[in-house]
């Protein structure tokens, strides 16, 4: 079965041969180059579609996943389109450095990872507001902030809205990540930034554990660290927006951090220098995350609208809400872990 699949994928001639009979591929005798380039994707898609249905008839199950193919193609096209426009500087970023076109171009790739690699099972999406602000609060894990990307995609699939993630200050001082995270909607976890974004009606994602969460050793996985000082609760109370707790299972296993070279981290100015079974042993190959099976649960929103006006200045209330949110997430994690039979198969 697998042999057949690889053969059909790697030899395009066979696919062409099969589908040349379909009318979609009957090209005019002297096609101009322009019409060829514009017709080709459609022709290729319909050819692959024919091939996929033939293969499904033979095998009795989906051999070629059309959705994935579509994602790959649209990623290629959006990136090409982006390159043309970015080459002339003809685009706009907002004051936070967010570039919606850039984020949209990456979306198919993220969706491919979301659906095929980590096979994310997202539940409770109905809690997300279709308009107006909300503060998403999630556990943080996996060395690099990839859980943020998966949550953002889940939100985008459900509501067609972009998520603005608050990132740890440390990532702002890192090369590449500093601009990449901003371009895709991230901003620093500064109170001013949070209030500004919530004030303009955005969905804001915060990881109160911060680098304490991403940098924790593998043996302590799914044990929540301290949720900062509850600053995010204060922001939600000030902006009077609902808090939506999120529990993410699966991200802890993508980079099992078995060591932390603190002296090196201190020299580089990092909060931790991770060692995984493959990093830095295999060099860049060690950056490939493991294909764990993920589940993301969005829990019932904690509403803040009915609290009295000075609630944000009441530290006792802030800390009790903080604990409430943290307990919801921890309980969610335990529940999801209970349902999970295998790390990689789910």
């Amino acid at each position: 079965m697998t042999a057949r699949r690889t053969a059909s994928r790697t030899t395009p001639t066979s696919s062409n041969g099969r589908s040349r009979t379909t009318p979609a591929l009957r090209l005019p005798s002297l096609p101009s180059l322009r019409s060829l380039t514009s017709d080709l994707p459609g022709a290729a898609m319909s050819a692959t579609g024919t091939l996929a249905s033939v293969l499904r008839d033979i095998a009795g199950r989906d051999v070629i996943d059309l959705e994935s193919l579509h994602d790959v193609l649209s990623f290629a096209y959006r990136v090409a389109d982006l390159r043309t426009r970015h080459g002339s500087g003809d685009y706009q970023v907002d004051e936070f450095g967010f570039d919606p076109d850039f984020t949209n171009a990456l979306e198919p790739l993220v969706r491919l990872i979301y659906r095929r690699y980590w096979r994310v099972d997202a539940r409770g999406l109905e809690h997300l507001p279709s308009h107006g602000p909300a503060l998403l609060v999630s556990n943080h894990s996996g060395v690099l902030p990839l859980d943020g990307a998966m949550i953002s995609l889940a939100v985008h699939e459900q509501t067609d809205r972009f998520t603005r993630a608050l990132i740890a200050t440390w990532f702002g001082s890192l090369p590449v990540l500093s601009w990449f995270l901003r371009r895709t909607g991230g901003t620093l976890g500064h109170p001013d930034d949070t209030l500004r974004l919530l004030g303009s009606g955005e969905i804001v994602l915060v990881f109160p554990e911060g680098v304490r969460g991403t940098g924790k050793p593998f043996r302590e996985r799914y044990r929540l660290r301290r949720f900062g000082r509850g600053g995010y609760v204060e922001m939600a109370l000030r902006a009077r927006v609902p808090i939506i707790p999120i529990s993410v299972v699966g991200a802890e296993e993508i980079y099992p951090m078995i060591g932390d070279v603190q002296p090196l981290a201190r020299v580089l100015g990092f909060p931790y220098f991770p060692v995984t079974p493959t990093w830095p042993l295999l060099g860049p190959l060690g950056l490939i995350p493991l294909p764990s099976k993920w589940s993301i649960h969005f829990h019932d929103p904690v509403s803040t609208g009915d609290l009295p006006a000075g609630a944000a200045d009441d530290p006792l209330l802030v800390m009790s809400l903080n604990d409430q949110v943290r307990d919801t997430i921890q309980a969610g994690l335990v529940e999801q872990l209970r349902e999970r039979r295998s790390v990689f198969r789910g």
Partner: protein, 377 residues
């Protein structure tokens, strides 16, 4: 409505002071304009009285008294380190401001209004900064480089003045980096290069203010009474790679992200760009300020967004490329007149891509047909 009649402008030998003087000359409300500096202004000024004086001398107080100056515009702050030696920059910025503030705050003195040109550099540029600086947002860490420390002190002296003279109208304008055809700044020199060194792995958000807008805001602050501190920058932001793409320059990420200041200092020896440490940090971490207040209070004075400013600079530069000016751009009256005639000749080409809005006959000399004035909020 302002009560400004007799204005004193410091730093008239440089772009800000002399362009402001020219604008104010066109205003009939202004009775007298006195400009002081240690060097003569580069533009021909018609009814401005130029006095060769040093703001570091205490004679300035006597001058204010003798002339009955009611409004002082402190535009002498040097932000471009290439213009003078570090020592002169420090002396002019800190000691000059201190002395000028002392002269202005004399309890029985004639001064009723103070307008200070400051810079958004006062916020610094660090990786853990808030994304958008409001006028009241406090810095998280003390300034690292001498220039920013000086700027901090300058604003400190101005705050002292506000305490000592609570009745006076004090306007502090923190300008973002200025871009425009007639003013050479570190960023304009950077954008003029074909290959631009950038910090590897960093693509900062930047803000610029068009030189005409900068002068308009200053002028507005003189003619109207606008008390307070304002960030002055084109609304919105660009990222460095975008600005370079608009300029058609090659982005060469050669500066290491650790020790970029040192590497830039070495490049500066070969190509004198004037990128002092505080500007190199800006090139690495970027800075965006909140422009809500300035848009509300100064309204029409800000014509260009940051993106417009960069686009306009790229267009003006194309004209300049045709005119060929090999010796590095300095303000030249004839050339500027020629550029101006080009601009009025092809009306509208400076703003073709931006959205249509009422555009006055733009000119660097300030002899504009009408005044734009925001409604007092």
């Amino acid at each position: 409505m302002g009560t400004t009649r007799r204005v004193l402008i410091t730093g008239v030998s440089r772009f800000w002071g002399c362009h402001l003087a020219r604008r104010l000359e066109a205003s009939p409300d202004i009775e007298r304009i006195v400009a002081i500096d240690t060097e003569a202004p580069p533009l021909d000024l018609e009814r401005t009285d130029f006095v060769r004086a040093d703001i570091r001398r205490s004679t300035i107080g006597k001058l204010l008294d003798a002339l009955g100056i009611d409004t002082v515009v402190h535009a002498a702050l040097i932000v471009d380190p290439r213009r003078a030696s570090p020592r002169t920059v420090h002396e002019t910025n800190v000691i000059g401001t201190m002395n000028l503030m002392a002269a202005c705050s004399a309890p029985d003195g004639p001064v009723r209004k103070l307008v200070v040109k400051s810079s958004t550099a006062v916020y610094g540029a660090e990786p853990d900064d808030p994304s958008i600086w409001g006028e009241a947002t406090p810095r998280r860490s003390a300034p690292r480089d001498p220039f920013t420390r000086d700027l901090d002190e300058v604003e400190g002296y101005v705050r002292d003045f506000m305490v000592r003279r609570p009745d006076a109208v004090t306007t502090v304008l923190r300008f973002a980096n200025v871009l425009g055809p007639s003013h050479s700044t570190p960023f304009s020199r950077l954008f003029d290069m074909r290959v631009v060194p950038t910090v590897a792995g960093f693509d900062p958000r930047l803000q610029f203010v068009h030189e005409n807008d900068a002068v308009s805001v200053l002028e507005h602050a003189v003619l109207d009474d606008v008390h307070g501190t304002f960030n002055v920058a084109g609304p919105g932001a660009v990222v460095l790679s975008q600005a370079l793409a608009i300029m058609g320059a090659v982005n060469l990420p050669v500066l290491p992200f650790v020790g970029a200041e040192l590497a830039m200092a070495m490049i500066d020896r070969a190509v004198p760009l004037g990128f002092a440490p505080h500007l190199t940090r800006l090139l690495q971490f970027g800075r965006v300020v909140d422009t809500t207040a300035v848009q509300q209070r100064f309204g029409l004075a800000l014509e260009h967004t940051t993106a417009d400013t960069v686009l306009a600079y790229a267009r003006d530069r194309r004209v300049r490329d045709v005119v060929r000016d090999d010796v590095g751009y300095r303000y030249e009256v004839e050339l500027e007149d020629f550029l101006r005639s080009q601009r009025t000749g092809q009306n509208g080409h400076t703003g073709a891509a931006s959205k249509p809005r009422p555009r006055r006959a733009r000119s660097a000399n300030g002899s504009r047909p009408r005044r734009t004035r925001a409604k007092p909020a």
